[in-house]
Symmetry: D2
Subunit: 328 residues, 4 copies
């Protein structure tokens, strides 16, 4: 719901000076691989995309094909909220798998490995995890490594849906590399839209075996802009002086501030293990009614929970106003 960061908007305007070669042959687009390789401290191939659905679907189509299945959390965005996008791009089946707090684990994944080698079953070829998870929790580096080790033992690829990648890095206080390839992740769908861009996501390939195929798939899916420089400009603006990290830290801080204040309010139940910039918080019916009548409430989940998100542009005033409504 938030807008575009002023520095990103300025970068778009700057990119508009003079003409440029189309379809990614411009000077800005040519910088992407190098600049993201710096961010991730290793050589990467970058496929810019316009939406998170496209970034997830494109990444998975390089890890799974029509005879395969992809293990995902049963509440994951890829499974529930992308209207068959990943299946469309890849042809694979997404296998919904339960797991506490929005996380997959070798224990929950184990039984699904029985399909390997079974002629009648779609063959598992990838695991996709979401970081920050849909529940607002964050996989620890150790948990990711455990999963990548499990994936490796079963000859599966490990993908990370990083719609909130930046917030997770900020929450863990680690580097982008630590939370991705150093922990065994082979591709990240990196989301910069929620974090300050207009529409800018990127598939980051650490395993570059199928990078070239990925570029043709990008074109085929209608994800290659003729004026690609405006997409590149957004991505690059986020990398300049680590704007991505600064924005994420600010969003996390505001979220922490909001939750701290909510904890003290009677009837409100804040989860213990929150971090990042999102949490599911339980309210009383009265509080919900007040939030709804003041247009501050969105969808109410089971158990009177609401999903609270702060962004890079959430102000202290907004938090104050929210608290005021909750306290009534």
């Amino acid at each position: 719901m938030s807008g575009v960061h002023p520095k990103v908007l300025a970068a778009i305007a700057d990119a508009n000076m003079g003409s440029a070669l189309p379809y990614g042959d411009d000077d800005l687009s040519k910088l992407l691989n190098d600049r993201f390789s710096e961010m991730f401290e290793t050589s990467v191939s970058v496929i810019p995309c316009l939406t998170g659905t496209a970034a997830n679907s494109l990444a998975l189509s390089l890890m799974a094909g029509p005879i395969n299945s992809v293990c995902v959390h049963e509440k994951s965005h890829a499974y529930l909220d992308e209207c068959n996008g990943p299946e469309f791009y890849s042809g694979a089946k997404l296998k919904p798998i339960p797991g506490e707090n929005g996380k997959l684990s070798p224990q929950s994944l184990g039984p699904f490995m029985a399909a390997i080698g079974e002629r009648h079953s779609a063959q598992p070829s990838a695991i996709s995890i979401t970081q920050t998870t849909e529940f607002g929790s964050v996989y620890s580096l150790e948990q990711i490594k455990t999963l990548s080790s499990f994936a490796g033992n079963n000859e599966l690829s490990l993908h990370m849906d990083g719609a909130r990648f930046s917030n997770a890095v900020a929450a863990l206080g680690c580097g982008a590399a630590d939370m991705s390839w150093k922990a065994g992740v082979m591709a990240v769908s990196l989301g910069f839209t929620k974090n300050g861009c207009m529409a800018a996501e990127a598939v980051i390939l650490f395993d570059q075996t199928r990078a070239e195929e990925g570029f043709y798939r990008q074109k085929r899916a209608g994800q290659l802009l003729s004026k690609q420089r405006f997409l590149a400009a957004q991505l690059l603006a986020m990398l300049d002086n680590n704007l991505w990290l600064e924005n994420a830290r600010r969003a996390n801080r505001q979220n922490e501030a909001l939750l701290s204040r909510l904890k003290g309010i009677k009837g409100v139940k804040v989860p213990d293990d929150h971090c990042g910039n999102m949490a599911f918080v339980r309210f009383t019916p009265d509080q919900i009614a007040r939030l709804q009548s003041s247009k501050m409430a969105g969808y109410v989940y089971d158990n009177n929970q609401m999903r609270l998100c702060c962004s890079w542009e959430t102000t202290d005033d907004q938090i104050n106003a929210f608290i005021d409504v909750v306290t009534g």
Copy 2:
């Protein structure tokens, strides 16, 4: 290769004031159907897209399915330059059909109708024409009506790839309605990117039977932005005071000016029936060499032809500079 019109850029910046509901539930997106219905003088459903490939592919997926074929010109963008995008979205086969000047006609289409009712053949369900064609020619209103009548007789839908729709309207001096539904076209993939936007195309559905399905397909294809208002803002800016038409007229005028001057130059062969903002012009090898060394030449087609395009931002100075290089 050109940039973004200042008014479009301003509209994007304006859209950034305050937050808005995501995924097309914002106020700007809600205006699209009404505003385009005004432009086309009839009720339409609008599905915004980010690229021309997506707009063509999405439109065709509503007119043709896995057992169908779509008749296209053998040199059309949809067949040659979209890396299987239309086949991907629709599942249908694109049938390449010859035709003079980039145009289809009942004569060239006729033999392909023999497949209708043949159990072993993909069933023709749509014809897709490009206006302005890939050759720079423009279908007359009469020619479009003849095709839509042919389509109707064979129970086919008629689609128009309108990547250069605006230039064709300007060239014909007619209204958007005349060149579309009034001539029997059932859907247009309307391109505003070449005509001044950053990345803004739209599927315009006159036959709205499958409009709702189209919105789910848009999401599934990764063409629904979370911050959809920035796409809506671009489209609306083009409609304000008919900026789309003003830009197209200007591009056409500059193209006319360029071609007039080229006609007088020895060795240059300008096609007789040019109109719109694009033409294939033949040069001498020397002229080509000079254009290439001055970075003014792109791809050289058969018979020493080059594709010349003017845009809304082509200046007289640029034309002068081009002529200077050609004359040597």
Copy 3:
């Protein structure tokens, strides 16, 4: 594992007299619609298929498309054992849904209807049930009607995977019509292979709206034989004098006999609600070891259960031999 019924084999040999028009234009194929319309006491369209996977996938492709989901039991053959066949043919997502005894119910289906109208979610368009279920249980007519009513209320189609349709009809003592369209089923994937054919299944369409499309899909999927008469001959042989029902009754009787005798054996646990020709029976580890060493045991499921099936050709001697091994 069983073979081909002598009458079916004879019908194949008979069909080999003289030449015939190919691809379903032969005299036998032309009888199919009429003969199955008699069996089902209503006008039906029949699409012959070669495998159960094809029959399920083809039927579902007429009820669900790329933006849709199909509700199936989480242990269903379509979901687990057809290697993405239904997703391949239809483009839809199969939603695995829990349910006791292999059965779906409005209670278990209910929560999945929340996706209806949600832009980001695949849209439920069909429910597929298996009769006899994968657990060996049989939906009562009342249960089917309850499901079709639920389906109708949510504008979904109801499909029946009838790989063991005949055995269920025999078990319920009803007519083929009662268990299908009269109970609200819109298409059945009718399996005759297990029941005595070499390779003969058929999609039976009560809702014939998309029958013609189905025939093109049959061809496209490689399911239309040039010598289609040999497939028609098998299907017709099963209809003659209700061989399908006679075979099913015999299989059910033998199964009943087998289970009755097993019930008396110490350590063996026969399910209470068995019917049809299949049941999951629990044995002691010793019994399993003996069955395996005598090559009578196949796969052992959780809790030391084995799946026992009788066919139309199961003899009393085979049952005696099996009992002897169990008792040791």
Copy 4:
């Protein structure tokens, strides 16, 4: 239109003795790789299929994917007569290419190689030729080698649609190996149905890299019979004592006899370069009228041509009867 060879029918009946493991784990199916490896004098992987459409589509899906194109003759069965089957299985685009006598050549293929490396174009990855061609002509071994060399230079795979493979081998008087892998063919869709089976085709993979994937694709497409032994039995019966070759030789001989006699009849035009068991022959309108009224004529092609085919069961009497009608 012809039936099943008695030896094949006998093999089916033999296969019906006793029960067998399902889904290709039976003893007959296990012989396939070895027996076809003998036929082709090299190690091959065999994927049995039920129709020619399936065999072509499955083979091509192992050579081309969604970003690819496959070069085929513009009159080929795969392009015209399989209702999008190859596109369905593979996701690739089939590129129709002209060529004399139903044959592709480096000259006709050359221009289509310009797409290689072009971001906007489907990437050519395979060439598919038909042997015997749809025109009744036969590629010489030299012509096949020239094509495989061209394919190799462009990093394409070479596939052979061998619906009439046996007749071509018989016509060339070479071995099955000579006309396939020794000439650079990487996979053959081998058709035994026209040559005496009920429904038995096979994908023969010389390049076995993706054989395992092929078996999963076979299952997914609904091409894996539960009683797979009856398909294996047909294929093996054709290999016994080279029945495939004997049948093909007989069909070719009868065709030769028929054409020889037709040559002497006024008004009949037999093509010079016929071989195999099929030819397009031109008749006078009177002759066609007589053939049609005696039910001997099928579809009449351009220029009063009819397609004449002899099979392994065509008798001298049938030829005499045909000649009688032509002479009137």
